[in-house]
């Protein structure tokens, strides 16, 4: 036996080291692929082999409170081309001839990037039954061509309540990213605004799914899953179509009247009718308005731009819940309740209005809307004539009391927070206070909360911002002795078979403790506004007792905004009505007449009153 030399022994030891290192590398790589990155590769593997083709489900209908159809679906016949045949020029040319389309247009449709790979391409929608049967009879010449039934959204009452119902449109990439849980895919139509948007998951139904396993060449090896589409659920609204229609036309008339009365910039407004006993919204209008049917078959980019252009007045914007404004005098009831409840004023107090209030000193005069003054005025009478001096004084006393009591009461009535209405993009508005001012302003001087800030807040001006819906809640609270029900527009959800699966229950939003004396005084004041005050012209001869308040808010550089808010009948309130016209001038002359016309329809009163009256109060 001849032993091999030591050098080779050493080198063989090195060799085993090298082998170990190389296998270590292989093990490490195997571990990263199979254990660390497994999920990613499982995903890729499934993408490889699984193809899902979906069939759309009919969308649920939308009804008004009495069961009148507001939105439904109409079936339409569509021609599709299988993805495997999209380069079959001969067939496409034949199909173009049958559909009376240009070949280039057909090609464009089948090559549309929006289609997920492997999905059938829709070439034309809404073809006639004759064309459909012709295509079916000639299927041997048209490989991969199929006829499917699609649905398109239909609004039978045309453009009634578009801001409540909303519109549908093609799902965007961002929305797609957020809807992982849903079965949405690129190209789907989904609710974009209003009820269509807010109740998308209820209305959209569940798509039918066909899931295949395919091999490398794309041929189907077997079916993994097949599910029929499930139609979406129906939604019933609290909206009363007749009242809605009246509300929309009254609002429009108010805007037109404002323009005719020397306010040429009046071009937007909102109106709400609310049942204070349960929070049901009976009508909700925003002006300008738009035609939802534009969205159904896809609009041109020019049409879309015109709806969002600067001069358009932004018709898609729902001013009743998405916009906030200074409420001006319609806010005065809050100051009224705060002043009496906190004891800085008594109902018997009287104030002297000489047109200017100098409570903060000669240096800081504040004007009443009535330059010549209201003279000796009681606290409650201050509401009737909307005397600013009375409310400046109360505001100032509340300021001196400290503790931001006026803000406290504002928030109690729901200002500065969402009402939670079941409509998208609700604004929360703003109740300005010390903290807010400090955080918002950069300049040290401007960060300070001044007495004038509270004084301005007392008449609903300054930095206060509220949506028309929040104002409606304020008047609902007064009508309902401090109790606010959460406003809502959906009353029921039911299945296509008619089984009710959800019924809106009234939900308490706030229960404000206001003494009966204060409430009685407030109601008396608001009744006097209608009977002999700033809305007396608008409501002359109206047979139902109404309690309300006008408002005219000042916005720097723009015309005044006209407000009116009321409830009726006074002793058993059924309706709260709020009307606001942007740059429409005075509340008493423009907004109040519109509210009267709405109430005329609600109470079926023949006297609708004038479109506008003269009232220069604020």
């Amino acid at each position: 036996m001849r032993p091999i030399n030591d050098l080779i022994q050493k080198r063989l030891f090195m060799a085993s080291m090298i082998v170990t290192v190389i296998f270590g590398l292989l093990f490490f790589r195997l571990w990263t692929l199979q254990v660390v990155a497994r999920d990613e590769y499982v995903n890729l593997s499934n993408n490889n082999r699984i193809r899902t083709v979906t069939t759309s489900a009919p969308r649920g209908n939308i009804y008004d409170r009495s069961g009148l159809l507001l939105a439904n679906n109409l079936p339409t016949l569509a021609v599709t081309v299988d993805y495997q045949e999209i380069n079959n020029e001969e067939m496409l040319a034949e199909l173009a001839k049958i559909l009376n389309m240009k070949l280039a247009a057909v090609r464009e449709r089948v090559n549309d990037k929006k289609y997920a790979p492997f999905y059938p391409r829709i070439v034309k929608q809404g073809i006639s039954k004759e064309t459909a049967s012709y295509i079916k009879e000639n299927s041997s010449n048209l490989p991969g061509v199929d006829i499917t039934t699609n649905f398109y959204r239909n609004y039978p009452k045309l453009s009634l309540a578009p801001h409540v119902i909303g519109y549908i449109g093609e799902i965007s990439q961002e929305e797609l990213a957020f809807s992982e849980a849903l079965t949405h895919t690129s190209g789907d139509l989904i609710g974009k605004s209003g009820i269509e948007g807010e109740y998308e998951e209820i209305l959209c139904g569940t798509k039918g799914i066909k899931q295949f396993e395919i091999d490398r060449t794309g041929s189907i090896t077997h079916m993994l899953d097949e599910r029929e589409p499930v139609a979406g659920n129906h939604v019933q609204l609290t909206i009363d179509s007749a009242l809605q229609s009246a509300t929309e036309s009254s609002l429009k008339s108010a805007v037109m009247a404002a323009r005719a009365n020397g306010y040429p910039d009046a071009n937007g407004g909102a109106a709400i009718v609310l049942n204070p006993n349960n929070g049901e919204i009976l009508a909700l209008a925003s002006y300008p308005t738009y035609d939802q049917t534009l969205f159904v078959r896809g609009m041109t980019s020019r049409e879309w731009e015109s709806l969002n252009a600067k001069g358009s007045g932004y018709p898609l914007f729902n001013r009743a819940v998405m916009a906030s404004y200074a409420p001006a005098s319609v806010f005065k009831p809050v100051t009224y309740v705060a002043g009496l409840s906190d004891g800085v004023v008594s109902a018997k107090d009287s104030f002297l209005c000489e047109g200017t209030w100098l409570g903060m000193g000669e240096m800081w005069p504040k004007n009443c809307w009535r330059k010549e003054g209201h003279g000796e005025t009681g606290f409650t009478a201050g509401l009737k004539d909307s005397c600013d001096v009375v409310f400046y004084e109360v505001g100032y006393r509340l300021y001196k009391r400290g503790g931001e009591r006026l803000q406290h009461w504002s928030r109690k009535f729901g200002f500065g927070k969402a009402t939670g209405v079941d409509l998208p993009s609700e604004v929360i508005g703003r109740v300005p206070d010390r903290k807010w001012k400090k955080e918002t302003h950069e300049d040290l001087e401007e960060q300070k909360w001044l007495p004038g800030d509270t004084v301005n807040l007392a008449i609903g001006q300054g930095d206060l911002l509220t949506s028309p819906l929040q104002v409606a809640d304020l008047y609902a609270a007064i009508a309902n002795d401090g109790l606010i029900w959460k406003p809502h527009v959906v009353s029921k959800v039911f299945t296509p078979e008619g089984d009710e699966i959800r019924t809106a229950k009234r939900k308490k939003l706030a229960d404000i403790d206001i003494s009966k004396d204060v409430l009685d005084g407030l109601k008396k004041g608001l009744v006097s506004v209608i009977k002999e005050g700033t809305a007396s012209n608008a409501f002359a001869g109206f047979p139902v007792p109404v309690a309300g308040k006008t408002g005219t808010s000042e916005v720097k550089g723009r015309d005044d905004f006209a407000w009116f808010a009321c409830f009726a009948p006074v002793n058993n309130p059924k309706y709260v009505v709020v009307v606001m016209v942007e740059e429409g001038g005075h509340g008493g002359s423009i907004a109040a007449p519109a509210a009267r016309r709405i109430l005329s329809t609600a109470f079926n009163v023949s006297s609708v009153g004038p479109v506008s009256v003269s009232d220069d109060s604020r």
Binding site: F23, Y41, R216
Partner: protein, 367 residues
């Protein structure tokens, strides 16, 4: 002494080696079946592979029962026959996938390049052992270059870059163990590097070979071709996870996403269906096989035997690393089969001859 060894079977047979090889082969046959059972004739590939496996076993046994030192007498005819076959393949060779590698023998297609590996191991082993593992003269270095260069060149012409690189690996492995100095190793390495550079630079490679190397460097340049294979292989392995999708249940495999899965990508099938456990087991078996090669080289009292064991080990290590590394995206996609597992007759025969030779070296370790 010799008679005593022959009579003592316990000492004669390296049971660890036999067990390891049988286990890998069994795994291989099972996976070849799993990779092809969805075909119209589900047993077509398995049957052939089983036949090769049994033939291989017979050949291995045959290679055990003689004194391997007698091979030293035949190295010249071996070498000449090898070169002859590598040339003949160009004249009567069968063209598959654009390269000419096989000589049709009716029942079986002979792949001379497979045989060339073993011939190189034997002839180069004798050459080195003859010089006691130490090469000093320039003349000898020229002989080394020609010894390996001629078959490498012929195989590269087929073209079969992978197999020609196996020859280079065998030579380097054997040289290293026999006493290559680090300066020499550096010189060979730099020459090799400049050759590779020249080949790339002057386009001596076939277009598809260039593409494979470029795709390895950047898989996104060819997502449907070579890059596709690599991507699908990684998907198969990665989606197998720890426990695998189950034997015969690999979707990447059965739905045809994996390319030539019964041959070069057999490891991907194992990893997809049996997961990290199964693929790891295969790696462990291969590791055991290589450690066996080294320990046989160590135990041999004969430099010729040690060098041949190392040559066989180098060949397997290179093939295992390149093949498995390729399926996992660590190596370029070159057509190097996985020993005992990839479908293919010539490779199986050659590998089993190597096993027989190893067993032979072990059996005569005391000589």
């Amino acid at each position: 002494m010799r008679n005593r060894v022959y009579l003592n079977w316990f000492n004669y047979i390296n049971r660890g080696l036999i067990f390891t090889v049988l286990a890998i082969m069994l795994f291989g046959n099972l996976m070849v079946y799993s990779a092809t059972h969805v075909y119209d004739n589900p047993y077509q590939f398995l049957q052939k592979q089983l036949v090769f496996s049994f033939l291989g076993l017979a050949v291995a046994v045959g290679f055990m029962f003689f004194d391997y030192n007698r091979l030293r007498q035949f190295i010249v005819p071996f070498y000449v026959l090898n070169i002859f076959l590598l040339i003949v393949v160009f004249f009567i060779g069968k063209d598959v996938y654009g390269s000419t590698r096989w000589i049709p023998l009716g029942f079986f297609n002979l792949q001379p390049s497979e045989l060339a590996k073993l011939v190189l191991i034997i002839t180069f082993g004798e050459f080195l052992a003859d010089r006691k593992g130490d090469i000093k003269e320039v003349k000898d270095w020229l002989i080394v270059a020609a010894h390996v260069g001629v078959p490498m060149f012929l195989i590269m012409l087929q073209p079969d870059l992978g197999t020609s690189l196996v020859l280079l690996a065998i030579m380097l492995g054997m040289l290293s163990v026999s006493g290559l100095r680090w300066q020499q190793a550096l010189a060979i390495f730099s020459i090799g590097l400049s050759v590779v550079f020249a080949v790339l630079k002057f386009g001596l490679l076939h277009e598809y070979q260039m593409k494979r190397i470029l795709v390895f460097l950047d898989p996104s340049i060819d997502p449907t071709g070579v890059g596709y294979n690599l991507k699908q292989s990684k998907i198969a392995i990665g989606s197998g996870g720890f426990l695998g999708k189950g034997l015969f249940s690999g979707t990447q495999s059965s739905l045809g996403f994996l390319p030539v899965r019964y041959a070069d990508f057999i490891f991907s099938v194992v990893a997809e269906e049996l997961g990290f456990l199964g693929a790891g087991a295969v790696l462990l078996l291969f590791l055991a096989l290589l450690i066996k090669c080294i320990s046989i080289a160590k135990s041999s009292g004969n430099l010729f035997g040690s060098l041949m064991a190392i040559g066989i080990g180098s060949m397997w290590l290179f093939q295992i690393f390149v093949n498995i590394g390729m399926t996992m995206g660590m190596m370029p996609v070159t057509g190097v089969p996985l020993p005992f597992m990839s479908y293919g007759g010539s490779a199986m025969m050659m590998n089993m001859m190597s096993v027989g030779l190893l067993a032979n070296i072990y059996a005569h370790r005391l000589k």
